[in-house]
Symmetry: C2
Subunit: 148 residues, 2 copies
DNA sequence: ACAATGTTGACTGGAATGGTCGAGAATACC
DNA sequence: GGTATTCTCGACCATTCCAGTCAACATTGT
């Protein structure tokens, strides 16, 4: 598994914030409930996202979290690297130590895969994720109406 | 990290066996020394590769391990899936539980990446890995001669 | 018989994962 | 100013996985 729950939950939370962009702060408890994330655990992920400048948080009543920049300007690659650290699929690609690579034997295959993966992740914005989710919801709503 | 040392060491060992294809059994100790793998640990990896039909082993003096089929007929995808289990980058792609996917929000991006990755890994054979290593050795030998 | 080799399963220390909890800080509202 | 609400930060914890060791055993060639 390349992604842990950090990357999964963290992106879910960001999608939630993006969906409420421009509506003021969204509270931790709301995000946790809607996206099925343990609330106390979500704390750590929000802290990380704040440290890396993706969100701003406000305390006190009616406080919460919101995007620090437009959803179109946040790509999945940066988000996941913030949440997970390096996404390198193989140890010897992490630091590109030539000695490690010399003995590995499969590094060149994975280097290509890694490059393609990063390019793909960089091309998808948070806004794209939200749009995709909205489309999915419309489909499900249409299917439900059809059944009735 | 998608690959653990199992996938790394296991493929190294298979490259070693492929390099000595047709020369009779290669001993665990030799593989371990040449490829810098802890000998006792290598045991487990060879056992797994044997269970999945990639190698045959013979006991007794002059025993050892050898490929059970031609190196051209073994692809990196099957090797790694034997050694690592599933290579799914994301939990919700492992079983494709539609409920999990519905809440994930980034599964469609990773599904594409996963498909591309598997296609790439399926297209690389053990023989390709050996060929690549031989080429690399020739390059280094040429560079060394140039320095002298 | 015995030495060389592979086979198997039990065991282990350490790190990462996936959380929980509690004390505290900031802020809005009365 | 007091209080309720919300975020913040760090400590803590249970479980699982990783990477590896080890010992007992099975098989085979000489």
């Amino acid at each position: 598994m390349l992604l842990s729950t950090k990357g999964d939950y963290g992106v879910r939370a960001m999608i939630d914030l993006a969906k409420h962009e421009g509506e003021g702060p969204v509270q931790r408890a709301e995000i946790a409930r809607r996206r099925q994330i343990p609330e106390a655990y979500l704390d750590h992920l929000l802290a990380q996202l704040r440290r890396d400048g993706f969100i701003r948080s406000t305390r006190g009543p009616a406080g919460g979290h919101q995007l620090a920049k437009p959803a179109t300007d946040i790509c999945l690659l940066h988000l996941l690297e913030s949440l997970e650290g390096s996404l390198a699929p193989l140890q010897c690609l992490e630091n590109d130590d030539p000695q490690e690579e010399a003995i590995c034997g499969q590094d060149w295959v994975w280097q290509e895969i890694y490059d393609d993966m990063r390019a793909k992740l960089a091309s998808v914005s948070l806004a794209d994720l939200v749009e995709h989710e909205r489309e999915h919801e419309r489909e499900r709503a249409a299917a439900a109406r059809y059944v009735i």
